[in-house]
Amino acid sequence: MRRPTASQARAPATVLALLLIVVLVLPPLLSAYWIDVLTAVAIYSVVALGLNLLMGRVGLVSLGQIAVLALGGWVAAKLAFATSIPFPLVLLIAGLITLVLGTLVGLPALRLSGLYLALITLMLAGAITVVLSTTNFPNGGPGFLGHTESSFGNPSVRRPDIAGSDPGYFRFTVIVAAAMFALALWHVRSRPGRAWAAIRQSEPAALAAGVNITLYKLWAWALASFMTGVAGGLLAGSVGKLYTYQFPTRDSIILLAVVLMGGIYSLWGAVVAGGLMKLLPALLDDWGLPADLLTILFGVGVLQVLLTAPGGLAAQVPKDLARLGGALSAVVRREAARAERAPTGPAPREPAQ
């Protein structure tokens, strides 16, 4: 619909360059520990992306995304152990099944208004967590639940053949994550994105324009579920062994905090969120500081964003940079204009200010 401006045409090139650096240059430079950390950052960025879309585009809050992540992981582990489907396909199917489950929940739940919707997601996530703590995750065992208690150590979820090593799996994860971001971007720039913008600002206006609000809310919900399901599959392949304690309720709240802090009005905010959630704790650990400080920081962050800076970091930093850029270009333009006015000889002296 829109013809891209010059700066918009540059952006994909920058992103692609960044992606190439991350995928090709980084892995050999990092130790195994940091590769693990960055893999987690990539995975949780995708989870954050789902919530970022829900909150920033449609104005919906879900407090249960970590439970959805666990569901995705469960389905992926089940498929990985019970079948020999290639791993990328396992991810896709896990995403699709999570999409279906998410939509089934969304159909009745989306009729609720903001607060009640958030609360019902909290309740359902709690229920899922209780069930999972009893059924556990598939680990190659028999039956539908596919879990056996074994004292010999559980087998790990298999990885794709070409990405079996940690650095290899890191590259694979980053590429899948990039694909998810591309999917999100496509949505935002086309018809669903426009409909979401209308819904977020004014549901009456959206209706008056013919937007089927229920459909588009469900679409966002389904998309977020799909992505989080895929992330769950990536997580299963990454850590190999899934346990309920990896998906605590507290993480759903922390996810909300980091997504808010990263900024919900820009997709980059999800990347920042992933970093806040998984990179910062590792850094703090490295520096010998307690991780609890982060929990406190995130709490303060939530309050700060909600009370003052709606756009979060992703909006604030570009704004500051843009302001700087604007000031610089204004100076450049002024000098150019001055040079034009006096093409021969030195510029006339400016009167004293």
Binding site: G114, L119, M123, G126, L260, L294, V302
Partner: protein, 295 residues
């Protein structure tokens, strides 16, 4: 299928817990109706108060009664502080934003508790827990009786208070329409502050009781708020008596299912499932929910 005798201790435990869920639920409902804030940090506040009391008793040798009072005062103070700080900037915003902000408070408290107290197992024994009775074949302690009694008492007292006193009427007026109430000359800020104080004190009381009924662990106590929340939601964040009934039912069902081995592992689902069903039931007639921006 277990026998009636097997159920009895669980019925007692369930009633006691239900009483605490009820009084917490009432605290949350009154606060929500008066200020529009659904305080999801309710449990965290009580947890930290209980931990402070524990430290005062066990590390500094304070007399127990005084320490318990500090716990309740702490609950009141932190809640008031939060209400004064976060109340005005968020005053006109969607209840979702106000509730999300309390999650910020919850995280701050959780992090602080984890940092100062870490996850060591602790126990704090109220004097009422040591006074035991045998009723039939069950051993009941006075903390359990206190919990249930307080639950009922606080619900009824609050209900009467809201209807009969000037302050209560002011709270109900605020719940109805803040702007109009302010224009009538009601000291809105003072009424809200009072509500925060009372709600905070209740969270301190709940923290003390739960530390005995369930255990003194920061995370557990914090997330038990979900059960109280479930009771409040079943009451549609409105009726205090329904909150009481719902709280007791949740406590009872959760506990009574324990000896039934086939479904026992799923008993903790009780509050979640009941609340989810109640919420969906609420939604059955909804058409458009005019959503507003998150920030």
């Amino acid at each position: 299928m277990p026998s009636w005798q097997d159920f009895q201790p669980f019925i007692v435990a369930g009633l006691a817990l239900g009483g605490v869920y009820a009084l917490s639920g009432v605290g949350m409902v009154v606060l929500y109706r008066t200020t529009g804030v659904l305080n999801l940090a309710f449990g965290a506040v009580g947890a930290m108060g209980a931990l402070i009391a524990w430290t005062l008793i066990n590390t500094y040798g304070w007399p127990e009664g005084l320490a318990y009072l500090v716990c309740i005062a702490f609950g009141a103070a932190i809640s008031l502080g939060y209400g004064l700080l976060a109340g005005p900037p968020l005053a006109g915003r969607d209840p979702l934003v106000k509730a999300a902000a309390t999650l910020g408070l919850a995280l701050i408290l959780l992090g602080t508790m984890s940092w100062i107290w870490s996850d060591k197992a602790r126990s704090m024994v109220l004097p009422t827990t040591t006074w035991r009775h045998e009723v039939g074949e069950v051993l009941i302690n006075w903390t359990q009786i206190l919990a249930l009694a307080l639950g009922v008492l606080i619900t009824l007292t609050t209900a009467v208070f809201l209807r009969r006193t000037g302050l209560g009427t002011a709270m109900r007026a605020l719940a109805n329409d803040r702007e109009i109430t302010a224009s009538l000359g009601v000291p809105v800020r003072r009424v809200e502050a009072t509500t925060w104080v009372v709600s905070g004190a209740l969270s301190g009381v709940a923290g003390l009781l739960l530390s005995n009924l369930v255990g003194l662990d920061a995370a557990t106590l914090t997330f038990l708020v979900i059960s109280s929340l479930a009771a409040a939601l079943i009451a549609r964040l409105r009726s205090l008596v329904v909150t009481l009934a719902a709280g007791i039912v949740i406590g009872l069902v959760n506990a009574v299912v324990t000896p039934i081995f086939s479904i026992s592992p799923y008993r903790d689902m009780t509050p979640f499932v009941l609340a989810a069903v109640a919420l969906l039931f609420l939604a059955r007639h909804q058409q458009i929910s005019f959503a507003r921006r998150i920030t």
